[in-house]
Symmetry: C2
Subunit: 170 residues, 2 copies
């Protein structure tokens, strides 16, 4: 199965000059969806993992079935104001300005083994912020897995020293 | 297993007077997470289902592993401006004003059998908007499943005629 057949290119979204990679056709096809989750999960199944962490919102879409597949718990990294309990935050740069991500303070204990999941590796900003959150709480990141990596944006440069795996490279 | 042991009550979130039901302890416990997904999915496994539809964002957290478990495709209902392709929208009331949800126009074909999933049935506003989107595209809703139902808010009153199932009733 070629997963690229299920990625739709949308020109000029969310703004002019951006070629957006739409993963919804892949999610909709039961065989492609199941196979891509298995491939993302099984890459790390030989490692000791305590929890899968997924980044809001599309990281939830791939992260929770990976947690289910690996029979591990799921921990969400969320946008500001969404998590109700004690939390910490980390900021990341946008084209203009910056934004933040948050995680519950009690989500991770020192030494917990974490698999970090998102759909897309672009510039790596949200991934790096999520790494900061996990490591501030003492978590040990044993792997980072993406459905799709945009090579031109060189996000991987910000993730040196981590075991990074992406299913598709565009 | 009593899933209620994994629901954390947070007073005054997101604002004073609201008792927020935090599902993150349940998601984090691998056995509770796995068991609740199986229970939500297996309630409908005897029915013919083509696609699972989940509502952004916490509906993604429970919806995608249910789709994985049932071996069906997943279709997201998203907040405004997130979906990149041709789409339709439906509005729902907030305490002050209103907001919208969107779905891709080609996500569902006439007669497709849909299982609609979200984490929480509160007033039923976002559920009703999602039903409107699915039915505008000709989808046939064979079931609606929630992790948690807040009985006092009587959201179920807006869902008459549908096969509605919730794991926990608070």
């Amino acid at each position: 199965m070629n997963f690229n057949d299920y990625i739709r290119n949308i020109p000029d979204f969310p703004k002019e000059g951006i070629l957006f990679k739409d993963i919804t056709p892949l999610l909709k096809d039961k065989d492609a969806f199941h196979a891509v989750i298995d491939k993302m999960a099984d890459k790390f199944k030989a490692k000791k993992i305590d929890y899968v962490v997924g980044i809001e919102a599309r990281g939830f879409i791939v992260g929770t079935p990976i947690a289910y597949r690996l029979n591990r718990g799921f921990i969400p990294v969320r946008k500001p104001g969404k998590l109700p309990y004690d939390k910490i935050s980390a900021s990341y740069d946008l084209e203009y300005g910056s934004s933040e991500l948050e995680i519950h303070s009690d989500a991770i204990n020192k030494g917990d083994k974490i698999l970090l999941v998102d759909d897309l590796l672009a510039t790596g900003g949200t991934t790096k912020a999520s790494i900061d959150l996990i490591e501030k709480l003492g978590g040990d990141i044993v792997g980072i897995v993406f459905l799709l990596e945009l090579l031109d944006l060189e996000g991987r440069e910000h993730l040196k020293g981590y075991d990074v795996y992406s299913i598709l490279k565009h």
